[in-house]
């Protein structure tokens, strides 16, 4: 099945599968999963795979169906159609308990018992996961989130950031095969968010599979091996660099001290330049077919034209550009 994007993105079967260089079997296989609440479609026809040890980013605007997807994969809600295999177990109501044993979910809100201490909260969840003698596991989890010295504090007295870290420690307790983190840095200050990023990086080093939903694109860019962009339907899946390459043509940014008197004359004769735009005087973005060939040719032509060249560089596109390009397109479609 091919979900063609008019933006030229590949959303075919191959891109949804785990990368071919991945040596491990998939931790998560989702195939045409759909969830409807009555007439309302939460998400539709979602397919992707996540490899063991991969950090997989799940991006999308509010109401895109990210949290509902996490809830479906975590057996909190039943999908309307489609199939999935979570941590090697087929997703079904009968397998709910077994799947919940192997995964852990951190919802967007920490959901801590505020009248209990940090340790008491973790002891409770250790009991629910059936952990015998959980003392050492609790200490390790608290150390992992740098909360070892706050173990005896009442959760009600902790800041939002610290509560978020306790919730993260809670997800570590059961040594899960897959961790679903739903907006783990939501509402955190930059320092606290940085600590959570470091923890996720550490977990990746240890081979934990992480399914991360987030609004923070720089976070996804930094942490995720691959990302999926969801807006009720899956818009794309892939490595951030691949998505950028698929979505945006190669481009050179040329800056000159004085605006060119006739840019058309300069650029139109260059074979590798397919078109150009200029938002600011003295700044030109050239769409090129091959960067390596175009850069020296453009330089020569500019010098020949007597331009005072300040810089010639490759245009950089972030994951945010990819996201906005895709989601803006959806917003426009909704408006129409």
């Amino acid at each position: 099945m091919v979900g063609d994007s008019k933006l030229g993105l590949k959303t075919d079967e191959a891109s949804r599968r785990i990368p071919s260089d991945s040596k491990s079997p998939p931790a998560l296989v989702v195939d045409r999963l759909t969830k409807c609440f009555g007439e309302r479609i939460a998400f539709s026809d979602v397919s992707f795979e996540v490899a063991h040890g991969e950090v997989f980013g799940f991006l999308g605007p509010n109401g895109a169906g990210k949290t509902t997807t996490v809830r479906a994969l975590g057996t909190l809600i039943a999908p309307t159609s489609g199939t999935a295999t979570v941590a090697g177990i087929p997703l079904s109501p009968e397998n709910g308990m077994e799947i919940r044993r192997r995964v852990s979910i951190m919802p967007e809100t920490p959901g801590l018992y505020l009248r209990l201490t940090v340790t008491e909260n973790l002891e409770y969840f250790a009991g629910l996961y059936g952990l015998r003698q959980p003392g050492a596991r609790i200490i390790d989890a608290l150390e992992a989130v740098n909360l070892g010295d706050r173990a005896g504090d009442l959760c009600g007295g902790l800041s939002k950031g610290l509560r978020q870290r306790v919730a993260l420690a809670r997800t570590l307790l059961s040594d899960p095969v897959i961790m679903f983190l739903d907006e783990p840095t939501s509402g955190l200050d930059p320092v606290a968010a940085r600590e959570v990023h470091e923890l996720i990086s550490d977990l990746r080093q240890k081979g934990v599979t992480i399914f991360l939903t987030t609004h923070r694109l720089e976070e996804a860019e930094e942490l995720c091996d691959r990302v999926a962009i969801l807006d009720t339907t899956l818009r794309t899946v892939g490595r951030p660099a691949e998505l950028r390459a698929q979505l945006f043509k190669s481009a050179l940014v040329v800056r000159t001290l004085v605006p060119l008197s006739d840019p058309d004359q300069v650029f139109n004769d260059i074979v590798t330049v397919e078109g150009w735009t200029s938002d600011d005087p003295g700044s030109y973005v050239l769409s090129v077919s091959d960067l390596r060939l175009a850069a020296p040719e453009v330089t020569r032509c500019l010098v020949r034209a007597g331009a005072d060249v300040l810089s010639i560089s490759e245009a950089q596109h972030s994951l945010e550009d990819v996201y906005l390009e895709l989601i803006d397109d959806d917003v426009e479609a909704h408006r129409r």
Binding site: G38, L76, T80, G96, M97, G111, R115, L116, L128
Partner: protein, 249 residues
């Protein structure tokens, strides 16, 4: 269907107990209410006219004893009504439902956490009442109270069963309610049927004999067990998390 893991039931119960202890208003309410229920029976017993010849079942004696059964009938409903919808309101339900706990384990743990303090307080109040009667009531009144063996037996036997009814009804309401206040008000209404039965016994429409107490206990036990199973099945994860029932495909 997997078996019941008692460790998980104990975990839920232990957490609830800790939570009660930390919230002073819960402890105070739990402690005060039963002792308020103690006032009327004690006053009634101590006001029994000394000239009254008491022998056999007598309203003067039976009424105060049956009045004590209101404690397990009414006291647990508020706590039970809070049990599920309260967790939902404070945002702790979803993390809990992501764990391997089963519906039965969750419900049993919650029910036990309400049942244990209810029984402890109910029996403490019964004990205090009987001790007060033995020590301070006129001997003719005291011996009349201790003569009511079927009623005393009913008191001990029906306490956990009446509490069980109030708890399962309170939890059923809590599973479905959208907010705590609604759940607590509805669960109070649900305690009325056993209260009505107690009144029928008290006013003599039903005569409190050993057989009546036994039949009443057996029927109530069957209802409690069945109701507990129904409440476990009502605990639908999807409904609790999203507010809508899972669509069956």
């Amino acid at each position: 269907m997997t078996g019941l893991d008692t460790a998980r039931v104990r975990a839920v119960m232990g957490k609830e107990m800790r939570d009660y202890r930390r919230k002073r208003s819960i402890v105070v309410t739990m402690a005060i209410l039963p002792f308020l229920f103690l006032i009327e029976p004690v006053v009634t017993i101590f006001l029994v006219p000394t000239t009254t010849a008491i022998s056999g079942p007598d309203t003067y004696v039976i009424l105060p004893l049956l009045y004590l059964l209101l404690i397990p009938s009414v006291m647990p409903s508020t706590l039970a009504a809070y049990s599920v919808v309260g967790e939902r309101e404070q945002g702790t339900l979803e993390p809990l439902l992501t764990t391997p706990i089963s519906q039965q384990e969750f419900i049993l743990g919650k029910a036990a956490a309400v049942m244990i303090p209810t029984m402890m307080l109910s029996y403490t109040v019964f004990g205090l009442f009987l001790a007060a009667v033995a020590l301070f009531a006129k001997s003719v009144v005291a011996s009349a109270v201790f003569y009511q063996v079927p009623v005393l037996l009913a008191l001990f036997l029906l306490t956990p069963l009446l509490a069980g009814w109030a708890i399962v009804v309170g939890m059923a309401v809590s599973v479905r309610a959208s907010e705590v206040r609604v759940a607590q008000q509805l669960s109070m209404l649900a305690s009325l049927p056993p209260v009505g039965l107690i009144l029928l016994l008290a006013v003599g429409v039903i005569h409190p004999t050993f057989a009546v107490a036994f039949i009443f206990a057996v029927v109530l036990l069957a209802i409690d067990v069945r109701a507990l199973r129904i409440v476990s099945k009502m605990l639908d994860r999807e409904r609790l998390v999203t507010g809508s029932r899972a669509a069956r495909s």
